[in-house]
């Protein structure tokens, strides 16, 4: 079980620390000990204030669609799919996709909730509509 402290970043590096948590079902991001802001993508420095003391914080997974696009693809190649930007409740914004709903129905401002997709070798975060808001 990875621990949410700075030494984990030093040992693994920020990218590996992020991915090793995802592999264990934990969606966590680096948080600055100085300004308390979280950031994505994971780094060794806080891009908000420039300080280097960070810890890991598990995030709620709740977010809001900041922008969305449907990439058009022929049905025989898998059909249309969604690419969006989600702003997490904790502040950071990431690229992702909304699943479980037609891409064209995804709207800016939609409330979404994260899950971890394990279909590939490397897990990644996707979102579904958050009915509870």
């Amino acid at each position: 079980m990875p621990s949410n402290d700075a030494s984990a970043i030093e040992q693994e590096g920020p990218d590996q620390a992020y991915r090793s948590r995802l592999k264990q079902g934990i969606f966590a991001l680096p948080k600055c000990k100085s300004c308390n802001e979280l950031h994505f993508f994971p780094r060794v420095v806080c891009p908000h204030c420039g300080e280097f003391e960070l810890e890991w914080q598990t995030v709620s997974g709740k977010g809001e669609v900041y922008s969305t696009t449907t990439i058009r693809r022929k049905p025989e190649r898998g059909g249309n799919y969604n690419v969006c930007l989600v702003t997490l409740e904790e502040g950071p914004r990431m690229m992702s996709r909304v699943e479980g709903v037609d891409s064209e129905l995804v709207e800016i401002g939609d409330q979404v909730i994260a899950s971890i997709n394990n279909d590939d070798d490397e897990p990644f975060v996707v979102f579904t509509p958050n009915k509870e808001g």
Partner: protein, 383 residues
């Protein structure tokens, strides 16, 4: 007090080559042909060049490959890579190098065979590892996300974006060298194949071959050349992100800063600008840059372009060569907006010539709205 670089250097030669399709040519062949034309225009020889400024999607060390090909041994060179805005940024670095005695004759140059070599955007860009799992189309999906956000936040419409493409086409129809000159209507753009909502095929720039080159010298020397010198009045650079996820606000680009910096160096305001050349990789770009450079208020870019302001006969001539949308776009378009501004200021543009322009503004874009570089050029009248 005026900035010491304001008016310190001038462009005395400009040349294009291979715009459209340049069969049988490699990127450096096209670059060299454009360089030949620019040198001819200035009455100079390759052996006069002692400063080299270039960027490439094909050559990892572009100044080395270019100097080797041309057979020159520059004493100063700069391959700063900020995507399509690179060549606009090079104007500042070249003027600075000239001012500091690091070189005397600066060559800023580019060439690409993107169309005949395969018809796809050539890139040496590293993969963005936190975006890759979602398979965005690069770079179009990033621009689509910005357009969708602008539509959501300000009510901008696909029709207004289409009007950017229509205005560009009308300018292209006045430019015999433009690649796409067929009749184009708003409906044609709306009906074109959707690629990444809300951006459809005709919201996207062309994929062509092409090269361009300009020659810059000190203003003292500039008076001895055959052409009317075009003076560098100001350049401002700004970048706030690399990947679209890191762009603070998808409706506001760093042109907000680059524009202010360029105007401050030039000691001018937007009201002094007679002709505007913006990097229109996609129709949303023109709207964003018009707003961020202060030609209309934030959120009003859509209405501004729909009112016909930027088309021939409008209040503000924008992208008078036909732009990346209709004239030429070999991957890194920055050199072409520079050259169109130079030709307008020299009064060489024939049917598309803006009446007696004295000040031209150029805004280069690089990455995914990532790098913005604004340059203000002027004639002797505003020196």
């Amino acid at each position: 007090m005026a900035h010491e670089l304001r008016g310190s250097a001038a462009i005395v030669g400009a040349g294009l080559a291979g715009c459209g399709e340049a069969h049988g040519r490699m990127p450096l062949d096209i670059l060299a042909e454009a360089t030949h034309n620019a040198l001819d225009d200035a009455g100079l020889k390759l052996s006069d060049v002692d400063g080299l400024f270039t960027g490439s999607s094909y050559h990892f060390m572009p100044t080395l490959s270019t100097a080797e090909y041309l057979g020159i041994k520059p004493r100063f060179s700069d391959g700063s890579m900020v995507g399509g805005s690179s060549f606009v940024a090079h104007t500042l670095n070249a003027a600075s190098a000239i001012k500091n005695g690091l070189c005397e004759v600066a060559l800023i140059c580019y060439g690409s065979n993107q169309r005949t070599a395969g018809g796809k955007l050539a890139t040496m860009s590293e993969q963005q590892i936190y975006e890759a799992p979602y398979k965005p189309r690069y770079p179009i999906s990033s621009y689509a996300l910005a357009a969708a956000r602008h539509m959501h936040q300000y009510g901008t419409t696909r029709e207004q974006m289409a009007d950017v493409a229509v205005a560009a086409r009308k300018w292209a129809q006045l430019n015999p060298a433009a690649f796409a000159r067929d009749e184009l209507t708003r409906q044609d753009v709306l009906n074109s194949r959707m690629i990444s909502d809300p951006i459809s095929l005709l919201d996207c720039c062309l994929v062509t071959d092409g090269g361009g080159a300009v020659i810059m010298v000190s203003s003292e020397r500039a008076k001895d050349f055959p052409n009317k010198p075009v003076y560098l009045l100001g350049t401002g650079t700004a970048h706030w992100h690399r990947q679209i996820t890191q762009m603070p606000d998808l409706t506001t680009t760093a042109a907000l800063d680059s524009g202010k910096r360029a105007f401050a160096m030039a000691g001018l305001t937007k009201d002094d600008v007679d002709v505007v050349e913006l990097y229109d990789a996609f129709t949303i770009n023109t709207i964003l840059f018009l707003e961020d450079l202060g030609f209309c208020a934030k959120g009003e870019g859509g209405a501004f372009v729909a009112d016909g302001n930027i088309a021939p006969g409008g209040s503000l001539p924008v992208n008078t060569n036909g732009g990346g949308l209709s004239c030429v776009h070999p991957g890194m378009y920055g050199i072409f907006i520079l050259i169109e501004a130079i030709q307008q200021l020299r009064g060489e543009c024939g049917a598309r010539q803006v009446k007696n322009p004295e000040v031209a503004l150029v805004n280069g874009n690089g990455g995914v709205l990532s790098s913005q570089v604004t340059t203000i050029l002027g004639t002797e009248a505003v020196l």
